[in-house]
């Protein structure tokens, strides 16, 4: 899942300062699940923006709507009836959603209200952790199901650096050393010998180094 965090409200306020009528758009997918931009957050942000405008003694007109998914043009189409009546759109979806709206409604400025963070998994209520960098060439098959790209602070492919202490990463004692985890897992799986295989320098193209990625499924497209 894509995770996101709400932007500092002052930043959002700054974006919309010139406008009086705002369309505030949530997304019922990833950002709902990570509690950053679902219906509830839309309501809270709307309320916060109202409170802010009150401070200025102004009125702001906010229309709240939450789409099933902001990254699909068909869902984004649902905004059409409202778009002409607003001065600006504030999107609470990930960057994909913001761009889908911006691409569809050219005349209306679109502002992001969340910072898209990473692809993560949920560790429990209210806790998400980065698990995938979308590098386009998955090595999990040989690293015991633990990703050195996403979970090692230095993306090391050939074992832990010298900074590991007590099994934790040098950057933060709360961060597990990915290579410690990989090693433990390999041992559990009886695949210790895998460790000494040299992993060659990575081809970063599929993950974005080769320019903006695109997938075309010819059987579907």
């Amino acid at each position: 899942m894509i995770t996101a965090e709400q932007k500092p409200i002052p930043e959002i306020i700054q974006y919309i300062a010139p406008y009086g009528k705002i369309l505030l758009v949530g997304c019922n997918e990833c950002v709902t699940v990570c509690a950053a931009g679902g219906r509830k957050e839309v309501g809270l942000l709307a309320s916060a923006l109202h409170l802010n405008s009150m401070k200025q003694g102004k009125t702001i007109d906010i229309k709240e709507i939450t789409l099933e998914r902001q990254c699909d043009p068909e869902y984004v189409e649902e905004l059409t009836p409202y778009i002409d009546g607003v001065d600006a759109v504030v999107s609470m979806a990930c960057g994909c959603g913001v761009q889908t709206i911006a691409g569809r409604y050219k005349k209306t400025p679109v502002f992001p209200a969340v910072n898209t963070r990473f692809m993560g998994a949920s560790l429990g209520q209210g806790v998400w952790a980065e698990r995938c960098k979308g590098c386009g060439d998955c090595v999990l098959g040989i690293t015991g199901g633990i990703c050195p790209v996403a979970r090692c602070s230095k993306h090391l492919f050939n074992g832990p650096c010298g900074g590991t202490s007590n099994g934790q990463c040098e950057i933060d004692p709360d961060v597990d050393c990915a290579w410690r985890l990989i090693w433990e897992r390999l041992k559990e799986l009886g695949m210790e010998d895998r460790y000494e295989d040299l992993m060659n320098a990575k081809d970063w193209r599929p993950g974005g180094a080769g320019g903006p990625g695109k997938i075309i499924r010819e059987d579907l497209a």
């Binding site: 306020i13 309501g43 802010n52 401070k55 906010i62």
Partner: protein
């Protein structure tokens, strides 16, 4: 603003704080009439939006009153409520409003006197802070609701 009388909303859980408020009544313990109670089954029901909306609609201060720590009728609703109150405090700070305008208090059903005391203290806090967001809305025109 002279003679400012704050408007205060208290979300009280049915099992503890609302009963404590009734208890204050049956003991005839007075507290400021500024405080108006909205009853909820558990403070865990109180959404951050409710607090924000109360301020938006005209409250100068809002507080959530739940059971004592560890005594929640529903195990931990009061803990969740407190976390939400803190979230709203953070939002208010970001907006430049005083975070003291929202608060979480805890009490048992028998603490009528404490209910009244809390109501008095909170009212005083808000009185010192002055009018809340809702009071500014009217300066130009009516806020969207």
């Amino acid at each position: 603003m002279e003679n400012f009388e704050p408007e205060i909303v208290a979300f009280c859980c049915h099992y503890c704080a609302y009963t404590a408020a009734d208890m204050a009544g049956s003991k005839r313990i007075s507290y400021p009439s500024n405080v108006k109670i909205i009853r909820v089954p558990c403070t865990g029901k109180v959404d951050a939006i409710h607090l924000m909306k109360a301020l938006e609609k005209g409250a100068d201060g809002v507080y959530v009153a739940g059971c004592l720590a560890g005594d929640c009728h529903f195990k931990n609703g009061n803990v969740r409520a407190e976390a939400r109150v803190n979230r709203v405090k953070k939002i208010l700070t970001e907006l430049g409003w005083e975070p003291e305008r929202v608060a979480m208090v805890n009490m048992s059903a028998g603490m009528g006197e404490y209910f009244a005391q809390t109501a008095r203290e909170f009212t005083e806090t808000i009185r010192k802070l002055g009018p809340g967001p809702g009071k500014f809305a009217g300066t130009n025109d009516k806020a969207a609701s």
